[in-house]
Symmetry: C2
Subunit: 473 residues, 2 copies
């Protein structure tokens, strides 16, 4: 048993069936790339959220813009829901086919369409993953910094306005998408943005689609900013007597304007999991995992400032990782924290929630959430992109214990409402999906959500694009 | 005589009169803050574009959100156009009341509402100018970097998605607005965004309003990112044998990832004007005016790299300005280039157009535009935020010479169409306004402009917000 769907999506009103004629037309075009097998449908109707799968009626493995246009046009004609799918790493229930419909799997659209190394831009198909992208452009001397942890697809990352470990220096998908090719809800192909670094030409449709969670159209091609690989990179871990001390160090780093490239918090629970999973022997106490990018001298200078700041808060045991191998080992461990943590409670399911607050409120935001988590007795772990004021609190829930589900949800309410009260947001990078629809209204207000709804109705009048997500359409 | 309105806004279809009852209601509330004097109306119906003024019927000097809501609600009820006004420095005809209506002058809304120095954010009323803002936060050790040259209002800068000299390092208004208070077309007050540095909560309405040129609502309060004043700042000028050499140096600087804070091109014509106006004795040949921000060592390092690169392209005569006074002198001269140039041809009117291209195309983009300008015989001058691939070509036109107007417009077509062909945009930072509506369609395509139109219709169904601008509603 997984978590039941939240009240606001129950009952699954208005299941909109795929008419037989439409299914026939899809099968005729997609052949074996149109699957109605239950296992395939269940895998596509779930993601990494705690909810039961809500499988779509069919999964289409798209290979081209034409495939996507063909499917969306049929769906538009028959008013059938369309849910774009990347690698399925979504955490907030984005992929559940709560109104039925078809899943458009873009994971085969993996072409790097154009590398313009001289302009520091690249255009990719939506199914390219961030690891594939960085592998394929390695020889250009450039890299794409956005790193949400999971090896997500660029399309999925754009859809949830993802960010992750490097965002403190390089920004999020909001800042790093220059342009898009989108299949609209009517099945038309449009382009937004250009390859120029800035523009004042008309409405910023690029950023309207980025973060729209599949509810406004299907992004099929994405033009991204790239960055020169830094001359020098150095990573360090530093241990602290408390989470509070680590967070206060972070606040100082940011307020002083140190251009730190990564500033990650791991609590003792996360480190314990990582140690066991990745066979490391990190001290099992709160830790900052940091990275510095720049010239040799610049990196040294940043590291010295940070070491001084950390010392003021009792941080010590600096361990440096300057070789690529040592750095990879540390960051691999960080990236596997999610799966490592799952293994700490066999058979559990993880509910991971993220909030983001103004940096001066980060200590309050984390400390109070930790106190609540400790008091609950439910296993939890914390990692955070704390340089942004963003952290993740994840509970390891017994999937058969309804009371524990309910307790976790109550804890989540406390954490999210605190973030909003502190001037922050109910989600820094996971998105609204199904889970946070109520919090979006709390955060933004009814009037602002009404504007979002107007935009949705304008661009998707039949409400076929990932319906039932973000807000009630 | 000024330039006639372009064909696509003529005839001034559908002048929508302010009903007497509405005018009475406005006068009752605003009293002497409601002006119908011709001089006031003409000043508010023009800006810095080449067009004849198209005055609104009344100008309201707003002092609060309530003032704005009151006026917009009346306008909404009577379907009367509303044109927000900051300081009037718009260049593309944004302020012309081509369908009549009322101008909302926000220049008295000059409160700094909240400085959160510890979070590097500030919230201001829309009428605060960038110079006022930086003056008032000086003691916090922070600054707001966006600098379009003119001492524009923050509201106006947000409306046109402005950028300017610092954008190469700090981004544009797109990257630096965290949240907004907006009076919608129905006169409702809504808030977008939060003070958190990032968020995945729902549609990015903040960036939808930023750059919407007053056509979707009235931004009355703006929350901005601030930055710590750099430990060290140093400015330098460097002269080049040709514009091409200066541009190629810039391309290398960007491609190498040097974190230069400002990288401005001035051509010989601009320098001649600046020398005369500001009593300087800069060599009258193409010049880069650069600024470096960072630690003492970091600034030195950047400057050394740039000097080496410049030398490869024949750049020389580096002159450093490390004292605040020396830097202020240089940047003041740069900022006065516009007014300095106007004085080079007494009685002239300046048509300034800007484009932005991927950096590798910048040399081609500028060189061909310069060749065309030279061949025309019409006085011109060039400045550019070349680190972004962005430059401005400005012609000094005889206002009584219709043939010259037409020639300048033909030259502008060539420049803009070239930028679009090279993968760039028809405007890097001035906006579409009236002048570039046709180019927006060329750049984005009919389908994409149709999406913009849908958004406009959804948020402003009566088409009262700055109607007739950006695209045909």
């Amino acid at each position: 048993m997984n978590a039941p769907l939240p009240d606001h999506v129950l009952p699954r009103i208005e299941l909109r069936p795929v008419p037989p004629a439409m299914l026939e037309a899809l099968k005729a075009r997609f052949a074996e790339r149109c699957s109605t097998a239950l296992a395939v449908r269940e895998q596509h109707g779930r993601g990494e959220s705690v909810y039961d799968a809500a499988p779509p009626e069919a999964v289409l493995f798209c290979e081209s813009n034409d495939d996507v246009m063909f499917a969306v046009r049929l769906a538009h004609e028959h008013a059938v829901p369309v849910i774009p799918f990347g690698v399925g790493s979504s955490l907030e229930g984005h992929l559940l086919a709560v109104q039925g419909g078809i899943s458009l799997d873009l994971s085969r659209m993996t072409k790097i369409l154009a590398v313009h190394a001289e302009d520091l831009t690249v255009t990719v198909q939506a199914g390219v993953t961030r690891e594939q992208l960085n592998r394929e452009i390695k020889d250009s001397g450039l890299f794409f910094p956005i790193d949400p942890g999971a090896n997500a697809s660029i399309g999925g990352m754009a859809a949830t306005r993802a960010s992750g470990t490097n965002a403190v220096r390089y920004g999020t998908m909001r800042e790093n998408v220059l342009g898009l090719t989108v299949v609209t809800a009517a099945g038309e192909l449009v382009h937004t943005g250009t390859r120029a670094r800035k523009s004042s030409a008309g409405y910023d449709l690029t950023r309207l689609f980025v973060g729209s969670e599949g509810t406004l159209g299907v992004m099929t091609e994405i033009t991204l900013k790239l960055y020169p690989l830094p001359e020098a990179v150095s990573a360090a871990v530093c241990h602290f007597p408390s989470i509070d001390a680590a967070v206060r160090t972070t606040i100082q780093i940011i307020q002083m304007g140190v251009p730190i490239a990564r500033c990650e918090l791991l609590d003792a629970h996360a480190i314990r999991a990582v140690n066991r999973h990745s066979k490391l022997d990190l001290a099992e106490q709160p830790m900052l995992l940091m990275e510095f990018h720049g010239s040799e001298a610049g990196v040294k200078e940043q590291a010295e400032i940070v070491q001084e700041l950390a010392a003021e808060f009792g941080g010590g045991g600096f361990q440096w990782a300057t070789t690529p191998e040592a750095r990879t080992k540390l960051w691999t461990a960080r990236h596997q924290a999610y799966f490592a943590a799952l293994q700490m409670r066999p058979g559990c399911r993880c509910q991971s929630s993220d909030t983001c607050v103004p940096i001066s409120k980060l200590a309050e935001s984390i400390n109070e959430s930790v106190a609540e988590a400790e008091a609950s007795g439910i296993p939890y772990w914390i990692v955070g992109h704390v340089g942004d004021g963003n952290f993740h609190l994840s509970y390891l829930m017994d999937p058969d214990d309804a009371a524990e589900h309910a307790a976790v949800e109550r804890l989540n309410v406390l954490m999210v409402e605190r973030a909003i009260r502190l001037g922050g947001t109910c989600t820094g990078e996971h998105g609204i999906g199904l889970h946070k629809m109520g919090y979006l209204v709390q955060e933004a207000g009814e009037g602002t959500v009404a504007l979002m709804r107007s935009v949705k109705q304008a661009l998707d009048p039949k409400n076929i694009m990932n319906p039932g997500k973000v807000f009630r359409a």
